[in-house]
């Protein structure tokens, strides 16, 4: 049984890009953890569905282009947090620069990818809620799965 809860998971960001898009490339980077994370959200690629309905026979379905997906974490805003500040910088960045991300799961296994942050809107809700942000990180590279660091 290798199920686990989400508790202890973490999201980190780096302004640098890996020399190679593999475990070694990402491991060489320095990441800054993003504080105040409530949820990291779904993470994974999906493929477009290409369909063809012949006059005779069942509908045929093919895998089309890959979409590496998007990350939409939610977090309690903290202007003093270095990771959140860098994430905000990536959201404000008007260039096409890619930022590197690292997700650490409870068991220490890792997910690496690069992406662009398309926004980081704040939510100011009721009196008994935290001021939060919901950054939209579009994943632009294949997600690299890495074992727990030894």
């Amino acid at each position: 049984m290798t199920s686990m809860t989400a508790a202890g998971s973490a999201l980190a960001i780096s302004a640098a890009s890996p020399a190679t898009n593999d475990i070694a490339g990402f491991t060489a980077l320095a990441f800054t953890e993003i504080g105040g994370i409530e949820k990291i959200g779904p993470l994974g690629a999906s493929f477009a569905k290409v369909e063809f309905q012949p006059l005779k026979g069942a509908k045929q379905k093919y895998k089309g282009s890959a979409d590496y997906g998007a990350l939409q974490p939610s977090l309690a805003l903290d202007s003093a947090d270095a990771g959140q500040t860098l994430l905000q910088t990536s959201a404000d960045d008007e260039t096409q620069k890619l930022y590197s991300f690292k997700v650490t799961r409870q068991d220490g296994t890792l997910r690496y990818f690069q992406g662009r942050t398309f926004g980081m809107p704040e939510t100011i809700d009721g009196a008994d809620t935290m001021v939060t942000a919901a950054p939209a990180v579009e994943i632009c590279t294949k997600i690299i799965k890495a074992p727990a660091a030894v």
Binding site: A12, S14, A30, Q88
Partner: protein, 70 residues
């Protein structure tokens, strides 16, 4: 025996901030040498990109209070 000696560099801290991963807090430097801090080189790149730190030498022109650009 470890071969991964982390390089550090001196940094001017622009404003107070905390690193959630290392649980380290940094206090804004006031220009005096003793308020500069040693930061891991890799972390420095991220902090600098976020506008939280800068090279100590950059602080000299800021003494006047105004930036002199070109």
């Amino acid at each position: 025996m470890s071969t991964t000696e982390k390089k550090t560099k001196k940094a001017f801290v622009v404003r107070d901030f905390t690193d959630a991963g290392t649980e380290t807090s940094f206090t804004a430097s006031d220009g005096k040498p003793e308020t500069l801090v040693e930061i891991d080189e890799g972390a420095f790149g991220n902090y600098q990109a976020a506008g939280l730190v800068r090279e100590p030498d950059d602080t000299k022109p800021a003494k006047s209070g105004n930036k002199v650009d070109g």
